[in-house]
């Protein structure tokens, strides 16, 4: 279906371009070009670039082409006078041959380029730390190798994502304020960071039995506008494996994750936004409900991390609890959000520069077209006073040549 559509649109685009090329009348050419631009806008839509499609229609097809038409009409330049003796009759075959050769070479590159196989862009691993380890009074300190990446991190809090170089690291948990040189860590384990990883290092478990779960997050954009994504971690020391399910309003049970082992993180699961009731069962046992969490609120376009564990109550008793951490997902590809975000981060400088380019265009339009009246005035003034040597060069008779 999509493919058929593509071919139709592509055919129209090529036809419009070719017609633009051969139309005698400039106005027709401009109209064909508009058709072509509209086709490209449509292709932009197919390529998940709604914002561009919009700009294409408004700026190009709307503003620029209207300007073209306007100038053609203004100058009455629909067609140029035919030449008595065609000057570059050899140009057509040469241009065609050149174009075909160019196309041949370029398409060779494109097809040989084998776009599907290209290696993705390399990104440094992103790491954050989340504290789901209840019990430490002032929170915890976390060290990655010798560098402290979290200080006094309280329960239910997390750091932001930071980029690290890929490689082998050792993660160590300390009680807040501990001296890593002198004190023993609460827990430590080696981890490996590889490129393109987006990892949450979740401290979980109990003070007696702390652990760090490495959860791989998928921050990539989600197609569903109202969607969200979550990763679950089983931090219940007494449960080797659990199932996680969502209870609908009707009391129906929809299993989201099956058989999540202790100390493991699940795959990412997509979910509709809204308020959910989440229940946890021992693996394979749909009758024993271990815990039920009502009204777990989740925003759209976020990536959530759920840690199922025990929380230490003020009375020193323990209670099973769900700890959620959420992070904004990468915005939907091509959407206004996405474009806007990039525009204000990586592309702010080009944005400013484009403003300068537009300023130049403004000055240019003024400088190039504005002077007619002024020139005549000066000419009159000059003629009235002393003829200057430059008058001759500016005489209107010559200008009309």
């Amino acid at each position: 279906m999509e493919l058929t559509l593509f071919f139709i649109v592509a055919a129209v685009a090529v036809a419009a371009a070719a017609l633009m090329l051969i139309s005698e009348n400039a106005v027709h050419s401009a109209l064909f070009l508009i058709v072509n631009f509209a086709c490209i806008a449509f292709l932009f839509l197919m390529l998940h670039a709604p914002f561009l499609a919009l700009v294409q229609i408004t700026v190009y097809t709307g503003a620029i082409m209207v300007l073209f038409l306007f100038v053609i009409m203004l100058l009455g330049a629909e067609r140029v006078q035919p030449e008595q003796t065609p000057r570059f009759s050899w140009m057509t075959p040469v241009a065609v041959i050149l174009a075909l050769a160019f196309l041949a070479v370029a398409s060779t590159a494109i097809i040989q380029g084998d776009i599907e196989l290209t290696t993705p862009r390399v990104a440094d691993p992103q790491v954050r730390v989340a504290n789901a380890l209840s019990g430490a009074a002032d929170g915890i300190d976390v060290y990655l190798n010798d560098e402290r990446i979290a200080q006094d991190l309280d329960y239910r809090e997390s750091t932001t994502f930071d980029a690290w170089d890929a490689g082998q690291y050792t993660i160590a948990l300390y009680a807040a304020g501990a001296d890593p040189e002198a004190d023993e860590p609460l827990y430590q384990q080696p981890i490996e960071l590889t490129t393109d990883d987006v990892l949450t290092l979740a401290a979980a478990g109990t003070m007696q039995e702390p652990l760090v779960v490495v959860a791989a997050e998928d921050m990539g954009p989600i197609d569903d506008e109202d969607g969200l994504r979550f990763v679950a971690i089983n931090a219940l020391p007494d449960r080797a494996a659990i199932d996680v399910a969502r209870l609908t309003r009707g009391g129906e049970r929809r299993v989201l994750i099956e058989g999540l082992s202790y100390g493991e993180a699940s795959e990412a699961v997509d979910l509709q936004t809204g308020s959910h009731t989440i229940a946890v069962y021992p693996a394979g046992d749909s009758n024993t409900r271990l815990a039920e969490y009502e009204d777990v609120e989740l925003d759209d376009q976020t990536a959530a991390l759920w840690v199922f564990g025990y929380e230490r109550r003020p009375d020193n008793s323990w209670r099973s609890e769900i700890v959620t951490f959420s992070a904004a997902m990468y915005p939907a590809f091509g959407g206004p959000h996405h474009v806007g975000e990039l525009l204000f981060s990586r592309y702010l400088l080009p944005f400013e520069m484009v403003a300068l380019v537009l300023l130049v265009a403004m000055i240019g339009a003024i400088v190039l077209t504005h002077e007619a009246r002024e020139k005549r005035q000066r000419l009159v003034r000059r003629l009235a006073n002393v003829p200057s040597p430059t008058v001759e060069q500016q005489a209107p008779g010559e200008a009309g040549k």
Binding site: L98, F102, T108, A109, Q112
Partner: protein, 774 residues
């Protein structure tokens, strides 16, 4: 005494200041002021050279390196390991050159004050002259090849400006002058190309361009170094020898690598053995030297360069600049010593230049052209001396030649001046203006026929009119001819001895060739010089102008006398061992042992009585022969040369007069057989196709083209034609290529598109090759 070495920057700065003063205030301070500044600057430079000489002697000939203030880090990029400092080198070789350049230079400056008197562009002349001194001194004092190159280009520029100095001479003369200047510059650029490439290769090989680093003593070949170990300064321990980028200068590094053997140089694309590298470098340097020192095949510019004012011919085109090539090769003696191939080529080129130019000189009518070819010939002697390894002899001849050739040029200038004066006296004697006007200012608009004051046929009998000039000229001629005890005898003899020794002792062919050619060339020298003396000074005046010629003023005569004295005694500085009496008075091999401290391969030649006798007799015989042929009767009416009148020698004379008919030579060796072959083919294979197409079109037109190329008027040598042809080729090519510049936007766009396709195809060749299965 080393402190005096610090004066060396001044030797460059003083002429520079003189030049700047004359440039900016020349018109204000008047002719006298300009003269004082210019002559003063060059004399002060000479004084410094003398001080340096004394300092050298006092310090035991220790070489010194002096930084130029401000320019210590001239070109340096530490991160790239690139450092070329602006350092002056004071050693016996450079001091010798300084003495010659400033000494002869000062005399010629003084002479020029008289010669250029009244010229409208008097200040500018001295600006150029001082600028020339600046560059020449940079050339000889620099401690690295790049400084030498700076000087090299600079003197070329000054030569260009000075040859064309009289561009506004009326009647087509000016155009000829400017043509000559351009030719000199362009021919020299061909030589420079060799020098630049040689320099880049040297830099690549050694990582530096310094001759020697400061504090580094020149290192002789290994076997000698072992015998006299302390020559090598202790601060460079043995271990460092193998370091490719050690702290050594170019020559010592080369010497060490040569002693070690087996060293290789990686040029990225190819790896060459060190010896091969040196051969290539030396041959490239030789190309540079053939340009600047006017050797075959690039000598054609020097005779034309005589279009410049005579002091310029004396200073630049005889005494100093043209010897730069010889200096450069002597400086690089370590390289040349190492490469037998290069030495062989050098010998061959030098010796053949000597004989060819000597032969051509016999057939010239122009007084300065004879001297120009003589200069080319003598430079050939020096180059050949380098080729046979006689570096001291080459330098010795360079020095003595500077004396007597400068003398001869200045003498000829005096003669021309006198002739102009006589001519002026005749044509304008009723004009009241008795102000002395320099030669070219004689506006000959009134004349219908141009009078050539340089044509020897117009002279004669000047012996009585200009006695001072005559006697000094005789001194110069005898010195050049190699008559004992004049300077030229000693230096020429040493070269001949060295050439013969190379042949006898090492059984080397080039030694014999050089010896034979140079001995013949020496005979030619004596002959054409005495022919000139006879034509100019003997007999009776052949024109009214010669009759009214007058002696030049004292400003011009004093330099002549000083130079005549030097031509007489200059040779005594290097009396060969075994020569009686003189050796004991002046010491033996003084000059060689002085030079040995900087030119490691300099060695003294002995004295061969037999050879000296033969050489002197040959010269004397040539002189007598010349006098016999150009006797007073023959000189009375000199429309034809006696050699031309005599049937047996007419051919040879015509040959010499036409500069050897190089065109005909090429014609007979290439075109004629080609023509024969073509005809034979046409006769035997007379097919219609063959006849119509191949013969008429291909052979016919290319033959026509070839004959057109080669059979143009023969007053210019084949090499002239080659350069002209090259220039025309480039011009035609340019004219053709420019037609793509149509002025139409669309064709320009086509160019862009075509270029895009082109580079896309180049870029994607690997893919396309894969696709096509190649």
């Amino acid at each position: 005494m080393e402190n005096f070495f610090d004066l060396v920057p001044l030797i460059v700065l003083i002429p520079l200041i003189g030049m700047l003063v004359n440039l900016f205030a020349g018109r204000q301070i008047g002719e006298r002021g300009v003269a004082i500044v210019a002559v003063g600057a060059s004399s002060l430079a000479f004084l410094i050279a003398v001080i340096l000489w004394i300092a050298q002697v006092q310090t035991g000939y220790e070489p010194g390196v002096v930084d130029m203030p401000l320019l210590a880090d001239w070109i340096s990029v530490p991160s790239a390991g690139l450092r070329i400092p602006w350092e002056f080198r004071v050693d016996t070789l450079s001091v010798t050159m300084m003495l010659v350049v400033t000494g002869v230079g000062s005399l010629i400056h003084l002479y020029a004050v008289g010669y250029m008197h009244g010229d409208a562009r008097f200040p500018r002349f001295f600006v150029y002259l001082n600028l020339f001194l600046v560059f020449m001194l940079i050339l000889v004092t620099g401690n690295n090849f790049l400084m030498m190159f700076v000087g090299w280009e600079g003197v070329g520029l000054c030569s260009f400006l000075l040859i064309g100095f009289w561009f506004d001479k009326p009647g087509g003369e000016g155009w000829k002058n400017s043509d000559a200047a351009r030719k000199a510059f362009i021919v020299n650029r061909v030589g420079d190309f060799g020098l630049i490439l040689g320099m880049l290769m040297t830099f690549w090989t050694f990582g530096t361009l310094d001759y020697y680093k400061p504090g580094e003593a020149p290192l002789a070949a290994h076997h000698e170094a072992e015998a006299e170990a302390p020559v090598f300064a202790p601060q460079f321990p043995q271990e460092e020898h193998a370091e490719p980028e050690g702290p050594l200068g170019v020559f010592n590094q080369a010497q060490l690598w040569l002693d070690e053997g087996g060293h290789e140089v990686d040029f990225g694309l190819v790896t060459l053995s060190f010896e091969t590298t040196l051969t290539i470098i030396t041959l490239l340097f030789l190309l540079g030297a053939t340009g600047k020192s006017a050797q075959i095949p690039l000598f054609v510019w020097l005779p034309d360069a005589m279009a410049g004012p005579t002091p310029v011919s004396a200073l630049i085109h005889a005494a100093t600049m043209v010897t730069a090539g010889v200096y450069m090769m002597v400086r690089s003696n370590v390289f040349y010593e190492a490469s037998t191939t290069a030495s062989f080529v050098v010998t061959l080129i030098g010796a053949s230049t000597a004989i060819v130019a000597g032969f051509i000189a016999v057939g010239q009518w122009d007084i300065k052209r004879v001297l120009a070819y003589s200069t080319v010939s003598q430079l050939g002697f020096m180059v050949a001396a380098v080729g046979v390894g006689a570096y001291a002899a080459a330098m010795f001849h360079l020095v003595t030649h500077a004396f007597f050739k400068a003398l001869l040029f200045l003498g000829s200038g005096s003669v021309i001046h006198g002739m102009e004066h006589g001519h002026h006296h005749l044509t304008d004697h009723d004009v009241e203006d008795h102000k002395h006007v320099p030669p070219h200012e004689h506006a000959p608009q009134v004349e219908t026929e141009r009078f050539d004051p340089q044509d020897m046929r117009n002279m004669g009998g000047l012996r009585h009119k200009m006695p001072g000039t005559y006697w000094t000229y005789i001194f110069g001629t005898l010195a050049l001819a190699g008559i004992i005890p004049f300077a030229g005898f000693w230096s020429k003899d040493e070269i001949l001895v060295d050439a013969l020794r190379l042949g006898l002792d090492e059984n080397r062919l080039d030694g014999y060739i050089a010896f034979a050619l140079l001995l013949t060339a020496a005979a030619f020298t004596a002959f054409y010089m005495w022919r000139q003396v006879s034509m100019v000074f003997y007999g009776q005046p052949r024109t009214p102008a010669a009759e009214h010629a007058e002696e030049s003023g004292p400003v011009m005569l004093v330099p002549l006398i000083v130079l005549a004295g030097l031509s007489l005694i200059g040779g005594f500085m290097n009396i060969p061992s075994g020569f009686p009496l003189l050796g004991r008075i002046f010491g033996e091999h003084q000059f060689t042992s002085w030079l040995e401290h900087s030119v490691v391969n300099a060695h003294a030649a002995g004295f061969l009585w037999l050879l000296a006798t033969v050489a002197v007799l040959l010269a004397a015989g040539a002189i007598i022969a010349a006098r016999v042929i150009y006797n007073d009767r023959a000189l009375r009416q000199l429309t034809d040369d006696p050699l031309e009148a005599n049937e047996r020698t007419a051919g040879a004379f015509a040959l010499a007069n036409a500069k050897l008919y190089w065109d005909e030579f090429y014609f007979s060796t290439i075109v004629y057989p080609y023509q024969r072959a073509a005809r034979w083919l046409a006769d035997r294979l007379d097919w219609a196709f063959w006849h119509d197409f191949v013969h008429d079109r291909v052979i016919g037109s290319s033959f026509q083209w070839a004959t057109e190329m080669l059979s143009n008027p023969i007053d210019r040598g084949i090499i002239d034609r080659a350069f002209d042809g090259l220039a025309r080729l480039v011009h035609n090519l340019a004219a053709r290529v420019r037609t793509i510049q149509t002025g139409y936007v669309r064709t320009y766009a086509l160019g862009v598109a075509f270029g895009a396709l082109l580079i896309l195809v180049i870029a994607l060749l690997p893919v396309l090759r894969d696709l096509l299965g190649l």
